[in-house]
Symmetry: C2
Subunit: 363 residues, 2 copies
């Protein structure tokens, strides 16, 4: 497995640090721009030769970017399966990007704030992530980078349609802004389906933790704009922010209602989750996500003593630690930590061991 990842393992991605606005509910904000080079065929009509050429041109542009400061460039075909999954788990590449690996690559900037996929569905998929509810900063960073890259790279652009993309749903701004929200109280109080239905009618869409087609594990939902055409980037971001504000308000109201009406049951759920995480000897990825979601809610509502309950244990329980466990308990992260490929059964044991050690449980 790749040595270059060792540095990543020492700390979670910047966007996981649990800071930023409304970070008790919003895990992270992300903006991605789809861009293509003019005079090169788009993915559906591309040849091996044209993809090789696109890779060269884009790589050269990225390596000379002042914003990116010499990014780490990884060719997907040179990565083994675990390393590829590792990138997906860190949201640095899409799940689609690692399947047919030829001529595909990803450029990763400092602190994993910026990443650029090369030869994904579009020639470039530029992405910026931020911790908390912070689409504005994400937009500032990505807009500046996009301006810089457009000087070096001849983007396919139409004055009628805007940026041209492989799939027409991305044409226009080529932008997707998405926010990862933690909505445990809306799930617990069974209001989530109503909320998601409303969101859809307002031009947004909700997906699971790892994008399209994934389940909403751990009560996390990725909420993003459905259309990218006919409005400016700022308008699209404003629309998401306005609707998200309402979703956040409803989640907050749900949390307050649980605290007022079922405090004991809520504390019981949170602390049982903590107790199981701290002591289990084997645990699936999905169970870990669900239990960590409960503990995160407990932390965010101040239901857990700052030292994780046991006054003498000295193990702090805070949002950053929970966020780290969300990431590091994922299959590829576990295997990177262990330094070798593990079977599903071995991962379940390793996962439980990792979580126990982070929570100060028995070894």
């Amino acid at each position: 497995m790749l040595k270059a990842f060792d540095e990543f393992l020492k700390h979670p991605s910047e966007w996981l640090r649990g800071a930023g606005p409304v970070s008790d509910i919003v895990m992270s904000s992300r903006i991605r721009l789809a861009r293509n080079l003019e005079k090169f065929p788009f993915a559906t009509r591309a040849t091996a030769a044209s993809q090789v050429e696109v890779f060269k041109v884009v790589k050269d542009g990225l390596m000379h970017s002042v914003t990116l400061k010499q990014p780490l460039i990884l060719e997907i075909r040179e990565l083994d399966e675990v390393d590829r999954q590792f990138l997906v788990e860190r949201h640095l590449v899409s799940r689609e990007h690692i399947v047919h690996a030829d001529h595909k690559a990803v450029a990763i900037g400092q602190g994993e704030v910026i990443s650029v996929m090369i030869n994904e569905e579009d020639h470039l998929r530029i992405q910026v992530m931020q911790s908390g509810m912070n689409l504005r900063d994400a937009w500032s960073i990505i807009d500046a980078l996009d301006d810089e890259l457009s000087e070096a790279l001849p983007y396919a652009y139409s004055t009628d349609w805007g940026y041209l993309t492989c799939c027409p749903t991305n044409t226009g701004t080529g932008m997707r802004a998405s926010v990862m929200v933690h909505l445990p109280s809306l799930v617990l109080t069974k209001q989530i389906n109503k909320v998601l239905h409303t969101i859809t009618k307002l031009g947004l869409t909700a997906r699971g933790l790892y994008g399209e087609g994934t389940e909403a594990s751990g009560n996390f939902f990725q909420i993003s704009n459905q259309v990218s055409l006919g409005r400016s980037e700022e308008e699209l971001i404003e629309n998401i922010e306005r609707i998200l504000k309402e979703v956040i308000h409803q989640e907050q109201a749900g949390r307050e209602s649980l605290l007022s009406n079922s405090r004991t049951q809520l504390e019981d759920r949170v602390w049982r989750a903590f107790g199981i995480l701290k002591h289990a000897k084997t645990m699936s990825s999905n169970e870990a996500l669900d239990l960590l979601s409960a503990v995160r809610l407990g932390v965010d509502l101040g239901l857990m003593a700052p030292n994780g309950g046991s006054p003498s244990s000295g193990n702090g329980m805070d949002r950053t630690k929970v966020n780290e466990l969300f990431l590091f308990s994922q299959p590829a992260h576990l295997q990177k930590l262990e330094g070798k490929a593990l079977t599903a059964k071995e991962r379940d044991t390793k996962r439980a061991q990792l979580i126990r050690s982070k929570l100060g449980g028995q070894g």
Copy 2:
């Protein structure tokens, strides 16, 4: 509630101390003798006047017993519902004994080893309990007491039938010897029904934690002789011991098989139970029994560190502590500890709190 019980609350019953032979599998051994006074009508034909007279005669006999050394005598009708249940939970009286309370009483000796119910189904139900697999000592104690009482009390006895009892199933020796066994591995490996079926064919019967008609909560089973006629007490005890030896052997084999073939799953089950017990905020009586059963198995198999897992917590986890929790988490014990009657919901909260505090969890 009765002040006399305060002393009981300071320590669990002697038979719960988790010592004695095979105490990793056998919780306790008990022998009871059914005795009636001649010239007084038996329960089904008794009048209030005859029961009053029986109570006087028996009480006088018990108070003068050298073996009993001035037992505590409690009239059931003077006890409130919680105190009555408290006696049932400590196995000092039967569940039947507390329903129609008039003229009924119980005499309790030092350390709760000996108890005598007055005007239960029979005029006297003498009982001796011991920790672990120890029917022999129980028999020595109860035999001596019975001999002594027979000097003072004119027992109903027939040279043809032996001791005469209200229900013919008890006639003969009037003895029921029973052993409380913890059989979690036979339950986990789904062999329990086969074992219980075999036992029944060999003249024994298996009941739940609180006798006839109660469920086998916490994987505890009371195994006792079905017939009391046609054999001597020693023969009946030998028969139980012989069969129990085989049951114990099978439980031990089951435990070894689990350790060899599914150690991780077993440890996982044990430690999750510990984690939930240590952190839950509300817990039903049945759930507590099930989780404590798993922890007891973990203790008995040496799967738990002597300090309960958290090196700094300083809370030892041993069989005595688990046994205490089995008893003190029962509804009436919780209410006695609290010093007042509690609703079911309040008990669930109090139970979780008591267990947490004993296990060193957050308050």
